[in-house]
Amino acid sequence: MDIELFYDKIFRYCYYRIGDKTTAEDLTQETFLRFLNSDSRMPERYLYTIAKNLCIDEYRKTRPILTDEAGSEADEIPGPDETESMVDRMTILNAMEQMPEEEREVLILRYVNDESVSDICVLTGLSRFAVYRRCKEAANRMKELLGKENYEG
């Protein structure tokens, strides 16, 4: 298994669920450690199941704080390009926060991590058509939210 590839995928998953980079890193590492200590013959998509449960536990402990790296490096004044990308990131994180949980899940899995529909079916317990429908609804809702927040990419 390509640990590096899955590390990035699980990190992105946690990041979009929690909204904090540091917490996402911690949860990513915790996910891998739990996976390795369980039956290692489980498929890689089991990583998502572990990550999802950890994110839910983390969410219940603390309300997610939408921060980015500039929040932890207050002494540095970001340049104009960095500021713009921070704003974009905050806009998207805000939009994600407004989406229903189920739609956010498939949006991250399908659009961010490029997971196959088959894997998403197993992870979510939905049929293939239900996954396609939910992906479509999630994408349309995100586009609508980004449009409202005048996101220009």
Binding site: M1, Y7, K21, E44, R45, D68, Y111, V112, S116, F129
Partner: protein, 247 residues
Amino acid sequence: MKDKELKMILKDACDVPDPVIKDSFIRKVNGMQSAGSISPMQSARSMSPVRVLAVEMHYIRKRVWAFSILAIAVMLITVSRLGEDMILHISDMMPLLAGLGMIEVMRAGMHDMSELEAVTLISAKGALFARMTVIGFGHLLAVAVTAAALAGYGGYSVIGTGLKLIIPYLITTISCMEVERTGFGRENTWSCMAVAVLVIVIREIIYSTGIVILSGVAVPALIVAALAGLQAAELKKTIRLEEYAWN
């Protein structure tokens, strides 16, 4: 905003993990695996392409292979008995082979087995592609053998003969893939054979008018190239059938 743009925006907006922390963790995990304190990570079970082809070859019914061999035998016997129009008459067998092949390829979808295939080790796309590859190569062999025999008996060009035999085959497979995407095609297994018969009838009608289309090698080659492009487009649509149907 298109889906592709949304995808790019979401991926770009995601923060990246700290490379130092990430590398350190990965090295730590590798170290723990080497020390045996945790089990080594194994990839999920997967099948090699050769095994996939072997599985799909086993899945294809033996009667299909029997008919294909019978068709080759008939074509070879006919070669020695027919006159100058032997290519045209023998090419009537090709739509039938193609129709039978397409029934076999689409059998999983027709009998609602494709959903089950989707959750097995082989993806539905992989299974479909493997079946088409197995049947396609089998029939390509039939074409090659027949073209060689025709060239031997009639003094024709092997390539030109082969191209003329492939044209009705490709027309049939393309048409069958279109028909199979309709409700009627899905519910009626033998609709592919109806398509094959229609191709034969049309071919005979064109022949009876005396119009000579397939002379030489260049024209058939161009036609085959165009049909191959269409076939690739149909294959892409069929493989993405679920998204296509949904949209």
